[in-house]
């Protein structure tokens, strides 16, 4: 075995391919650590920066220099500065600042200081988002008001005011009514503030009011890095006992540069799409190619070893499958199965896996069959028969071990085939669309490219190069393994 490994690692093409494969395996295996997103195509994971934002490091190129980066301000309850008015007591734990309010007009203000240092904001107006969770426990007859302010020096911007009643309100997407005493999740999204819900914006003049949602950063953050406070204020209006659980807010300045690979048309992280796509493509293609080689090996061995009528029948069946144009049939089957809901509750990835496996085993079968034919004719197979070895003995002791190189190579060769077919389906929008794969990344890119300002290379190149590199790597690894594991090949025979 050592000798095999040594001769493998002597090949440069194998070394490079192996390194590429290891790279993709590592990023797939650590995908959950590399990216906080589980499915960037989900609504809640979109818009983490402005759409079509180039990567952070692209600012070294002149046309992207000076774009504001995406910055997130993370607070913990230990940063909280708490002010109180009236009969109020408070405690802090790791997730909430918990206040107990008693008496009319008693008030709890929880503020978090931060330094806003995005000097480039003037070049491109950037938006920001603010999220926090508040849990108000009180009787239904008590009126409570939650206000959110941004404070800069003496000036305070009254951003929003909530009255937690027996429903949760999210101005973009009203959710179902919640009973009193449950968690209400308030969030201020970029573009979500308007003069109806923001006292600050309603205080602005007419034109600024309309642009308020977008222009808030440039209206509030006046340029030079200075310190601000974001403040959540809970006010007891009617005097009943109130328990308020206030989480630290998440404040994000959505810039025009984002992360390692920028963002796509949704404003989702291309890097996380790439990593998750790599994981999916690797898993699907390796699993499918194992099944393909499994089918091809069994049929090829039977046809090659038995010969005669069995071979004629199996070979004809294979020829029949070979005449089927695979991709059009895949497209039709996939569309029919999915569109008619013929198969309910079945993962789309599983349908694709099955269809590709059932339509791609022919080449493998032919190769295994012909290799079996050649091997079967060799004297050592007859010698084994002359020693008394049965078919099983010959198959498992002589044929399969000698075919090992071809089998392993076929597994490696089929991986690129599957990647390409699957990516093709996804590209056409017939495959998986609900979570990222390399194919549908390219598909979305081809649809949405026109809306972008220029060539969105950070979105197109990663999946494109990924497909090419992974396919080429598997091809070279397959070739190297075939050469090393086939004893007769290395001796220049068969």
């Amino acid at each position: 075995m050592n000798k095999t490994l040594k001769s493998l690692f002597k090949r440069k093409s194998f070394l490079i391919s192996f390194a590429i494969l290891i790279f993709f395996v590592i990023i797939s295996a650590t995908a959950n650590l590399l990216t906080p997103y589980t499915n960037p195509y989900e609504f809640s994971q979109e818009y983490i920066a402005n759409p079509y934002s180039p990567p952070d490091w692209a600012s070294i190129f002149p046309q992207y220099s000076g774009l504001p980066p995406t910055t997130t301000y993370q607070f913990t309850t230990s940063h909280a500065v708490v002010q109180k008015e009236g009969n109020v007591s408070f405690t802090k734990n790791s997730t909430y600042v918990i206040g107990e309010l008693q008496g009319k007009n008693s008030c709890l203000n929880v503020s978090y200081p931060f330094t806003y240092n995005s000097p480039a904001y003037k070049k491109a107006p950037s938006s920001f988002s603010l999220n926090f969770t508040g849990l108000i426990k009180t009787s239904s007859s008590t009126d409570v008001q939650v206000n959110i302010y941004l404070i800069h020096g003496n000036k305070s911007y009254f951003l929003e005011s909530f009255v937690p009643v027996d429903y949760s309100f999210n101005f973009l997407y009203p959710t179902c009514p919640l009973p009193v005493n449950s968690v209400s999740n308030f969030s201020i999204e970029s573009g979500g503030l308007n003069f109806v819900n923001s006292p600050y914006i309603s205080s602005l003049s007419g034109s600024a009011r309309l642009e308020g949602g977008i222009l808030i950063p440039s209206l509030i953050f006046k340029g030079d890095p200075t310190s601000y406070n974001v403040m959540v204020s809970v006010k007891d209006l009617s005097g009943g006992p109130v328990s308020a659980y206030i989480s630290p807010p998440k404040l994000k300045n959505e810039g025009y540069l984002y992360g390692i690979l920028g963002t796509d048309f949704r404003g989702s992280s291309v890097f996380s799409e790439f990593v998750l796509g790599a994981r999916f493509d690797l898993e699907l293609s390796v699993a499918t190619s194992l099944v393909i080689v499994g089918i091809g090996l069994i049929l090829g061995l039977i046809a090659g070893y038995k010969g005669g009528k069995t071979d004629t029948v199996l070979n004809s069946v294979t020829d029949f499958f070979l005449t089927i144009p695979t991709l059009p049939l895949l497209i039709v089957l996939e569309s029919v199965l999915v569109a008619t809901n013929l198969i309910l509750n079945v993962n789309k990835a599983f349908i694709i896996f099955t269809l590709i496996a059932l339509l791609s085993w022919m080449a493998t079968m032919k190769i295994i069959r012909s290799a079996t034919f050649t091997l079967k004719g060799r004297t050592f197979v007859e010698a084994s028969r002359a020693l008394g070895g049965g078919s099983f003995h010959i198959l498992f002791k002589h044929l399969i071990p000698n075919l090992l190189g071809i089998i392993v190579a076929q597994i490696a060769y089929d991986v690129p085939t599957v990647i390409l077919v699957e990516s093709g389906l996804d590209f056409l929008g017939l495959g998986i669309t609900s979570f990222p794969t390399w194919g549908n990344m390219l598909g979305y890119a081809s649809h949405e490219l026109t809306a972008s300002n220029g060539f969105v290379w950070w979105w197109i190149l990663p999946p494109g190069l990924g497909i090419i590199l992974l396919s080429a790597a598997f091809y070279f690894i397959g070739t190297a393994l075939r050469d090393v594991l086939s004893p007769y090949k290395t001796r220049g025979e068969a």
Partner: protein
């Protein structure tokens, strides 16, 4: 002890039938080395394979008085165990992926003969028997590390480890250098003294004369002459045998081999004596009918109208 009765083999070549063996009778007695000589394409190897049931044929194979032509299962296994074959090309006859030990132990493992230790002992013993010393050293290397002569010894050891009663040796020395042929042939001589019978297939009469007790001469799928080695070598009757013997080169400067047969590349005649187109003594009779084997002296038979 093993006997083939009127064995015929047909091959399909490009859709046409080719009669490789035409009702051949052959018999090998216990402890006897029998030579089977003839030119390439005469059906020697096919006969060897047919008699070991490795080839589909018409006719009968009798082994120890039993008809084994259509045996299956346990009896077939017994037959396989006791009747072995050594191939012409040792490079092709050995799976080079296996270590020498596993190559030789294969048969014992197939038949579950003995424990691990017993198999090990048998393998070492047979390696010693074929002259691969020290056996421990040879057992642990791969076939690619051996020379042709050593490999042929391994191939022979693989058959000897089964303690066979009968071995078909299909040109066991033709692929080997002259200098190591004698060593291999000596192994068969030794086997003879232990009571193992051998069918030695060869196209080289001088080789077969070295070890065999009796010789069959084949021409185009037919036995044309059979007899004791001394009878065949010293007193060949059939024109083909005479030609075969006179063509053995003698290491002597200036020695010329006179071709006895007309060297014509003619198609196989459909009827009559197969040698007819090339025979120097051909008669009108030979053209139409095929001569039967006739006895010319005790143990010496020949198929020719001259006798």
């Amino acid at each position: 002890m093993i006997e083939g009765k009127s064995i015929s083999v047909k091959f399909k070549v490009n859709g046409r039938d080719f009669q490789a063996l035409k009702g051949v009778n052959i018999k090998v007695n216990k402890g006897e080395v029998v030579g089977l000589a003839g030119e390439s394409g005469s059906g020697k190897t096919t006969l060897g394979r047919a008699i070991l049931l490795l080839q589909k044929f018409q006719g009968q194979v009798i082994w120890d008085g039993r008809d084994v032509t259509k045996v299956k299962g346990k009896k077939m296994k017994e037959f396989r165990m006791k009747n072995q074959i050594v191939y012409q090309d040792p490079f092709d006859a050995i799976d080079i992926r296996l270590k020498i030990f596993d190559v030789i132990a294969e048969g014992l493992r197939i038949h579950h003969e003995g424990s691990k230790q017993e198999i090990r002992d048998s393998v070492m013993e047979s390696l010693k028997l074929v002259g691969l010393n020290p056996p421990e050293q040879f057992a642990n290397i791969y076939p690619t590390q051996l020379s042709g002569g050593q490999l042929q010894r391994v191939a022979i050891a693989r058959t000897l480890v089964m303690r066979p009663d009968f071995i078909v040796a299909d040109e066991p020395v033709s692929m080997l250098d002259m200098s190591i042929r004698a060593g291999i042939l000596e192994i068969f001589n030794e086997l003879k003294s232990k009571g193992t019978s051998t069918l030695m297939i060869t196209h080289d009469l001088s080789t077969v004369a070295y070890v065999s007790d009796r010789i069959y001469v084949m021409y185009l799928g037919k036995i044309v002459e059979s007899g004791l080695t001394s009878q065949i070598v010293e007193n060949p009757k059939h024109p083909y045998t005479q030609a075969l013997i006179s063509s053995i080169p003698v290491p002597e400067p200036g020695y010329k081999v006179e071709p006895k047969l007309k060297d014509e590349d003619v198609p196989v005649p459909e009827k009559g004596c197969p040698l007819y187109p090339r025979c120097p003594f051909r008669m009108e009779k030979c053209k139409t009918s095929d001569p039967e084997m006739v006895q010319v002296e005790p143990g010496h038979e020949v198929a020719c109208y001259l006798y």
